[in-house]
Amino acid sequence: MLLKVENITTCYGQLTALRNASLSIDEGNTLFVTGPNGAGKSTLLKTIAGVVSPVEGSIMLAGSPVTRKTPEDIARLGFSMVPEGRHVFGSLTIEENLRLGTGMLTDKSGIAEGLAHVYELFPMLAERKHNPAGVLSGGQQQMLVIARALMAEPRLIAIDEPSLGLAPLVIDQVYDALLKLRETRGLTLLIVEQSSTRAILAGGRMILMRSGEIVLEGDAVQLSKGDALQAAYFGYGEH
């Protein structure tokens, strides 16, 4: 098991954003996190990434405990996070953005090769590699941050809302690239995605969150067949 999250509770001041969340992902698998706004999906990823600290619970990454560790230490264990809103470094060039991810690699010889692979996957990045990243379009920035996360040679990539603010055609391109990566490199993916359709198309497992709790989990395709998904999403029968 690559990632094991057990009974995580995270609070922002008085507000409990995440309550008793547990999940696990095996190497090479894909897990989608879906649910309405404010469900705690981003908080879940931020807690795993070490950006916020949980008040309770534990997280194990590749067998090592990472609860309450710093983001930079967690990144060094093979975890790469692409947060919501892309966060390119606008004043750095595309190549500098990419090289950022390589700082923690112990074996520097593979960097040139890594860059070449990434430019192959995303040719439009190669064209502009010495331009400041701030001038890229939304879709290009999304590609850049995924590529940047890849440069660190992670075992698990977590992406928060890759389709936010992007046109449908562009989202297709992003997901094509992601899924190709999954096949060629055996990457483990943890994706927060509002649209459960994408999850179903991509396959893998899915968990549904509401109001800070995980209310449903299972195989994405199977869940889509029954009523359970809609019921959980809209909260039928609960009151």
């Binding site: 990434a49 950006v51 710093t70 983001p71 930079e72 990144a75 060094r76 790469s80 996070m81 947060p83 966060h87 470094f89 606008g90 004043s91 750095l92 500098e96 090289r99 950022l100 991810g101 390589t102 700082g103 923690m104 400041p132 701030g134 940047r148 996360a149 660190a152």
Partner: protein, 304 residues
């Protein structure tokens, strides 16, 4: 022609000191959102590091007696050390506090440093002789320019060049620039927060030391308030240049230096004592025209 040349060197030399000061402030602001009001007192501290503590009227030169190739690294190290120490002991514990708290804490630190110097050296400025042969003028394209001015300008340009190379060409430099733009995202990519911040403080401390050496040589005195005027202009230059933009801070340091010299030359005689007032009015005008700074990086704009 000679007048213009003289004027240009004056402006550049004054601007250099302001630019170095602004850079020191901007570096720390970039990574920590902290305006370090103690910076001017770092400058004074480095100057007094040349002396042995004494309340006599005459300065007892101690470290200042070392030959230049030892003196410079020692004073730079003292500057870096003081700066890093203040990070470890004080600023580290305030990483996510509100700006007012950080500002006042840095001011309190400066206050403490000032009074330590006061206790050890008294408030009387003491004269010292540091490389005074450098004040002799050299002939340059028909104008007589003090050698020290030339050295100041050359030193500043060298420092800037070295810093730019470091920031653009080295992995650590890229990490520092990334941390200055988006600290949390940088950490998620493995950038070691503490190292980057300590490096920023170390470089900032060295810049303060450089300013101290230049001022001590220029004025031939040691005065516990030496760093204050530089600090004020540096603070202003950093904001006008655009917070988070190192080139902006440097350019504005030079601009303010040039403006100061220009006003001194071109203002009518009766208005000259009020020169500083004009400079500050220009600052206000600048801020109203472009509040985010003249060179702010694109991502610095606040989004709704």
């Amino acid at each position: 022609m000679t007048a213009i040349l003289q004027f240009a060197f004056d402006a550049l030399s004054v601007g250099s000191i302001y630019a170095l000061g602004a850079l020191g402030i901007a570096l720390i602001f970039g990574v920590m959102r902290l305006v370090n009001f103690a910076h001017g007192d770092y400058v004074a501290f480095c100057v007094f590091a040349l002396l042995w503590p004494s309340i006599d009227v005459v300065a007892i030169v101690f470290v200042g007696n070392l030959p230049w190739y030892l003196l410079i690294p020692v004073i730079l190290a003292i500057g870096a050390g003081l700066s890093v120490l203040s990070e470890i002991l004080i600023f580290r514990h305030l990483r996510n506090s509100n700006p007012a708290t950080m500002m006042i804490t840095s001011f309190a630190l400066g206050f403490v440093l000032q009074h330590v110097l006061l206790m050890l050296f008294t408030s009387r400025p003491k004269s010292i002789n540091l490389w005074s042969n450098l004040s002799l003028p050299v002939e340059l394209m028909g104008a007589r320019i003090p050698l020290l001015q030339v050295i100041t300008i050359v030193t500043t340009i060298t420092i800037l060049f070295a810093l730019v190379t470091f920031l653009k060409r080295t992995q650590f430099g890229i990490e520092m620039r990334a941390a200055a733009e988006d600290f949390t995202m940088a950490r998620m990519l493995g950038v070691r927060a503490n190292r980057v911040i300590m490096a920023a403080f170390a470089v900032s401390g060295m810049l303060a030391a450089a300013i101290g050496l230049i001022l001590a040589t220029q004025t031939g005195t040691t005065d516990i308030n030496m760093g204050m005027p530089i600090m004020l202009v540096a603070f202003v230059a950093t904001v006008i240049g655009g917070l988070g933009s190192l080139p902006g801070a440097v350019i504005c340091g030079f601009l303010i230096g040039a403006a100061t010299v220009m006003l001194q030359v071109f203002l009518p005689l009766e208005a000259r004592p009020f020169r500083d007032a004009f400079v500050y009015l220009a600052v206000i005008a600048c801020l109203v025209w472009r509040p985010q700074g003249l060179f702010s990086p694109k991502s610095a704009r606040e989004r709704v």
